[in-house]
Amino acid sequence: MKIVIASGKGGTGKTTLAVNLAVALADHESVGLLDCDVEEPNCHLYLKPSFEALEPVGTAIPVIDKETCTSCGLCARACEFHALVALPGAPLLLPELCHACGVCTYVCPERAISEIDREIGRIGDGEVGSLYFRWGRLHVGEARSTPVIRAVKDLSQAPAIDTCIIDAPPGVACPAVETLRGADFAVLVTEPTPFGLHDLKLAVETVRMMDIPFGVVINRAGIGDSRVDTFCRQESIPVLLEIPDSRPIAEACSRGDVFSATDAPFASLLRTFASDLRMRVGNIETHQVVAP
């Protein structure tokens, strides 16, 4: 099963929760942790894996054979992203605008276009303690992160895993949606503040649109006001966990500490949350199998 840790607002504690949840669950089953925030990946700062993100991730770009190209300009006209500019001679490619859709290759009457991979990021994977960890990193200056996110989510070469915890990028634009696609459950992390509530509503709208069951975790409970609670009650959204606002927790996170495996005061709360969540998502899956 795949559980995505997401949030509309950035900095609400997605990574902290994802890492600690994965570590807590790994005591009982095989767990994978996938860091899909490939623009600003942070899980590795907590887990400190011995491996780097080394394997290249590419996106296809067209290569035009100048010998065969008749400069007809069909490819440039067909490209919806203006990544090809018709010029006398072969068209000019603007690689950062290319979406790798394959239209130019398809429309070329001379079959002068083939495709090669252009590296836009790297991924790495391996064991960290009892966890399987997989992460990706978009190269700085690259605009489109979704191909790297897809590569992180591709577990075809990974060992067998019972439960996957996926750390999502913030927001509700295409990188977050790409991460959420195919999830069995989403945990939406928020703060009890006006910004937290506003962005939570966007995240709720997103997971409802994608038909993904979800619950909310309120981080830094006690700061701000009670409007997030009220919203969740009115919308019948389960509040799965409230993490109290605490300077020691904030300081532990600032150092990149993983505390769910320790005897820190907050650790047992997290372990209970982990087993409750596991049961909740398990029940949803069973229910889906039984229901037609």
Partner: protein, 316 residues
């Protein structure tokens, strides 16, 4: 007398030249971009505000804008399959590289090919491969944008539809509208609230900036993400300054960030204390400067003096 002439000449140049753009971004989300922009909005006069975090815009929650103008953001296309013309051959699904075409079971039990508008990138390959001409490419409305009035000046803001493509284009639109409005009303500053990350909306936000202020926090994640954001900004040869928020949370990490800044020749424009008053101000719909009695407000005032000097240096 001479200096007055120089001053007036300078003023003339300033109003004629393009307004200065200060872009606040962070790499890591939730470090305090929007709270800082709201505070700077309260401190400065003669500026236009732009919220470029178009998929989770929050600046309006503090500024309480009154909308003056609304426009749809139409950008690119999306595919629609007309079921009456579809022969269900499945070629569109086979060719689509974005897994946007699905065989979907209808309530009447029939299965039809449909396009998932969130996954569709609008390339049109399905329309080209369809032997029955069943795919239409329609203009895609991907959000909306607004011109509003606030107590701290005009605000250009936007809302990207969920899963929206082309967020970079909407960001560029917001930025350009803000610049145009600033030129029109004679404002000499555009204050931009940027998105988190380093991807397309961030690249679109910093393009053309006179000064970028990256706000970070003294955490391992904050330091890591700042380095990547700095690499992006400096890669575009744009002037960059750093603000360390919650600097006393972890003095050791704050020191690491100062070292990173020194190593990359980035000035630290200011450091702000960890202060729960920032959240209390947000709850009341105020910026921290308007909330009063906070040490952070004073620190932001001091930082603004530094930023103004940096902006002048950039102009020179």
């Amino acid at each position: 007398m001479t200096s007055a002439v120089v001053e007036s000449a300078r003023a003339q140049v300033d109003t004629e030249s393009a307004p200065r753009q200060l872009v606040v971004l962070s790499g890591k989300g939730g470090t305090g971009k929007t709270s800082l922009v709201a505070a700077l909005a309260a401190l400065t006069t003669d500026k236009v505000l732009a919220d470029c975090d178009v998929d989770a815009a929050d600046l309006h929650l503090v500024l309480d804008p009154v909308r003056r103008h609304r426009e749809s953001f139409v950008s690119g296309k999306e595919a629609r399959i007309a079921p009456e013309r579809c022969s269900a051959c499945g070629l569109c699904q086979k060719y689509c590289r974005f897994e946007a075409v699905h065989l979907t079971r209808q309530s009447d039990g029939e299965s039809v090919f449909m396009v998932d508008p969130i996954a569709c990138e609008g390339c049109g390959l399905c329309m080209r491969v369809c032997p029955s001409g069943a795919v239409d490419m329609v203009e895609a409305e991907r959000g909306e944008w607004f011109i509003s009035d606030t107590r701290h000046g005009p605000l250009i803001h936007a809302r990207l539809n969920i899963g929206g493509e082309n967020s970079g284009k909407l960001v560029t639109l917001v930025r350009n509208q803000a610049s145009a409005l600033a030129a029109k009303v004679g404002a000499d500053l555009v204050l931009v609230d940027g998105p988190p990350g380093i991807g397309c909306p961030v690249i679109a936000s910093v393009t053309g900036a006179h000064l970028v202020l990256a706000i970070t926090e003294p955490t391992v994640s904050g330091a890591h993400d700042l380095e990547r954001a700095a690499q992006l900004v400096q890669g575009f040869h744009l002037p960059l300054a750093v603000c360390i928020n919650k600097t006393d949370l972890n003095p050791h990490m704050a020191g690491c960030i100062r070292q990173i800044c020194a190593a990359h020749d980035i000035p630290v424009a200011g450091e702000l204390s960890y202060d729960t008053a920032v959240v209390r101000a947000q709850v009341e719909g105020k910026s921290i400067v308007e909330y009063g009695g906070s040490v952070v407000a004073e620190q932001i005032r001091e930082m603004w003096d530094v930023l103004e000097r940096l902006l002048r240096t950039v102009e020179a």
